[in-house]
Symmetry: C2
Subunit: 143 residues, 2 copies
């Protein structure tokens, strides 16, 4: 199902945060999302409108935000990429956790899938797991 394509980096960030909030607190509200992303609430509302149009979330007026199946798949894909990069930066390069976290957020969106595949392969070859295999199993359920 194609929804007049481009899910921008920014929108991907929203999806990822919504997924994380659901897993942590079982619900994702506008205010929580705004706090996590350090963004004003009206900006969140605006982004949610677009995500609804794309069929990636569901939300009734004044209600909580839910991911659709497609939205969840998308969010999981991003989070997976985030973890691969974070793992690489911290375990292989020895970058500090804070900086690795920031940088993972920056690059998780746009790199070619070839690059992610090769990076994951590299990590597994080096037997640097960093919870990646677990995450991979997780991922496969969402497929």
């Amino acid at each position: 199902m194609v929804h007049s394509l481009p899910v921008t980096s920014s929108l991907q960030d929203y999806l990822e945060v919504i997924l994380n909030l659901h897993q942590e607190k079982d619900t994702a509200r506008v205010t929580d999302i705004a706090d996590r992303l350090d963004i004003a609430k009206p900006s969140v509302i605006q982004a949610l409108t677009v995500l609804k149009e794309k069929g990636l979330i569901r939300q009734d007026r004044y209600g909580p935000v839910e991911l659709t199946d497609e939205g969840r798949r998308y969010a999981m894909k991003i989070r997976h990429r985030h973890k691969i990069i974070y793992g690489f930066l911290t375990q292989v390069l020895g970058v500090s956790p804070q900086v690795a976290e920031e940088d993972a957020c920056l690059v998780e969106h746009d790199l070619n899938s070839e690059t992610f595949d090769k990076l994951l392969q590299f990590m597994l070859e080096q037997d640097i797991d960093a919870g990646l295999k677990k995450e991979l199993a997780w991922q496969d359920k969402g497929k």
Copy 2:
């Protein structure tokens, strides 16, 4: 000298292209820049206006584009980062040249310098040069 800071990713791309054009053809014109970045000429003009305000380039009406010292330093820094990433992607991960080129462009701008330092260190430890030492020397002249 601080010029009301943020040099955005987009502006950094312009600087990098201007540097490359100068080295290849000894001059950088609006049309060449537009072609390289696959962007319309008026967009280039607009960007050049901002780069002028920041003191990173010089250009008289209808004249060619010149980098200031600060602009050249900036451009060289970006290009250096580009090469480190490209080298890593191709030599370490085995990513294809085209994809590596694209992805290097995407991430060269915003990663923390700690990450670049660690990445370079990693490359040198593995004795994967990829012309990096030469580039480093280059770089130092600009300093």
